[in-house]
């Protein structure tokens, strides 16, 4: 493993401090519970908290700021923060309007965020949660814990953030976040594994002509291992899955996010976006806005994910609202 780091134990704290030093106008970093939060908290509005394991930078600290999150709680690399950490984040940013937790649907995250919510409720704080499960690589079955939350989470944070900033009630912010979750789907593909610093070796091995189709943002296996494909062929398959899941027709308007997984050159993301657009335009599906970049990464994995959000008028108005964070401007 070659990485530009010091001791692996301290990586999240050093990163957090390095981030706060780079963006002193946007965020504060509290080392003890690894909480990133806005410089000034507005206690009148619904507070929005997300977080999860580290290694997905810029998520979620990069989305703390006006129009998006109030706080992001960081676990170790790929490991949910503890309930105690999340509890302290809730305590620090929640006012009378209450707090919404935006949780990516992993068993560890769900258990920790849920326990934290229970603890905060014991302190008479109003806490609701939503669970993002946009990854269509995973079968949605009664017998599993459901689908994983991946890059679509950023769009949920954007839209719920706009609702909270507008002054919506906690219940309404939750409802809008939930509506967004229902309209957002993602699928990823890996060209290489990621390497968790503490482990020091790649999580999985891929042959020099293989890709992992449907990979998760922690390097979890996906739908299947495949031979390498062209950008266009990948775009066809990935869009097919998403269009099918969302039931898109030529009436629909969507937001497209082409998300790099950390080790992918921007060059490839734009080439892929070109293919995505050619296919969408052949189907007369209208693209309202496009995001291309590293929004939700898997450390140093080469590969990308494609996210589609189907807009309704209600969601569009919120999508258009301003946002000013480290990694997302509007």
């Amino acid at each position: 493993m070659k990485k530009i780091i010091n001791q692996t134990d301290d990586i999240v704290i050093q990163m957090g401090k390095g981030m706060a030093l780079a963006h002193p106008d946007k965020i504060e970093f509290e080392e003890k519970y690894k909480i990133f939060k806005r410089k000034t908290i507005n206690p009148k509005k619904v507070a929005l908290i997300s977080g999860g394991g580290s290694g997905h930078e810029p998520a979620h600290a990069g989305y703390v700021g006006t129009g998006m999150l109030d706080a992001a709680v960081a676990g170790d690399v790929f490991a949910s923060p503890s309930s105690v950490q999340v509890y302290h984040a809730i305590k620090q940013v929640t006012g009378e309007a209450g707090c919404l937790l935006i949780v990516k649907n992993y068993s560890g995250d769900c258990m920790n965020f849920d326990t934290a919510a229970e603890m905060a409720e014991e302190d008479d704080l109003k806490v609701l949660s939503v669970y993002v499960n946009d990854d269509v690589a995973v079968k949605d079955s009664l017998y599993t814990i459901g689908r994983r939350g991946v890059a679509g989470t950023v769009l949920v944070e954007k839209i719920a953030g706009a609702a909270a900033e507008r002054g919506d009630s906690l219940e309404n912010v939750q409802l809008l976040a939930q509506k967004t979750i229902e309209q957002v789907k993602s699928i990823g593909v890996a060209l290489t594994s990621c390497t968790v610093p503490a482990k020091g070796t790649p999580t999985f091995d891929l042959g020099s002509d293989e890709i992992e189709f449907g990979v998760g943002i922690h390097g979890e296996p996906g739908i299947e291992r495949r031979k390498s494909m062209t950008s266009h062929a990948l775009a066809v398959e990935m869009l097919d899955l998403l269009i099918g899941e969302l039931g898109l027709t030529d009436e629909d308007e969507i937001v497209v996010m082409v998300n790099g997984l950390g080790g992918t050159p921007l060059q490839e993301l734009y080439v892929f976006n070109h293919d995505v657009r050619a296919i969408l335009s052949s189907k007369n599906i209208h693209v309202y806005d496009t995001l291309v970049g590293n929004y939700m990464t898997a450390i140093d994995m080469a590969g990308l994910s494609l996210t589609v959000l189907k807009l309704t008028d209600e969601l569009k108005a919120l999508y258009d609202a301003p946002a000013d964070t480290i990694a997302y401007h509007k």
Binding site: A79, M111, D135, A198, T203, E220
Partner: protein
Amino acid sequence: MSTLSKAELFQMLNHMAEVIIENEVPFCELDAVAGDGDFGMSIAKGFKVLMAQWETLNRESIGEFLADCSMVISENCGGASGPIWGAGFKGASKATTGLQSLTKAEFASMLESAAELIQKRGKANRGDKTLLDALLPCVDALNAHKSDENSFKMFLQTGAMAATEGAEATKKMIASRGRASYVGERSLEFPDAGAMALSIIFTAISGQVLD
């Protein structure tokens, strides 16, 4: 020896922490096959903090000690392991409040209570390919043998064998809880990381208990 003293149990827990810390990398590797490869790291992290705070834990009774352990583990183990192992220790502590030593029966019900809280917290059942598939057979074996005339060591080794068989059997299961559940049938043929860890831990600590 037919009871385990408080000191012996603390010694056993200390050894358990050592085993977990030593196995950080192998435990990660077990999780890498169908999960996200961080299990060893997540769990070792909490037990390292436990070791560091060892001398400060409340030693009034076994239950109190385990309750303190549960707090440290919940707060410091990452991922799913924090809530799961935290719940386990909390369950264990509930069954041992005030106790200064454990009979075989008390030991068995301590683990049974641990398994109960893990089930409550994680909502997993037998066969879901989690550490419960090692823990529940272990509890069953201990309950079945809690009145045997054997040594405490043999009693624990019976539990360890059951845990190992249970862990082995997870190879044939399709995960439906935890990260491995996302890969469906691709988790077949590989054991669950948490179950394997439990079998390794139990085998190690039962081996060290004096006859």
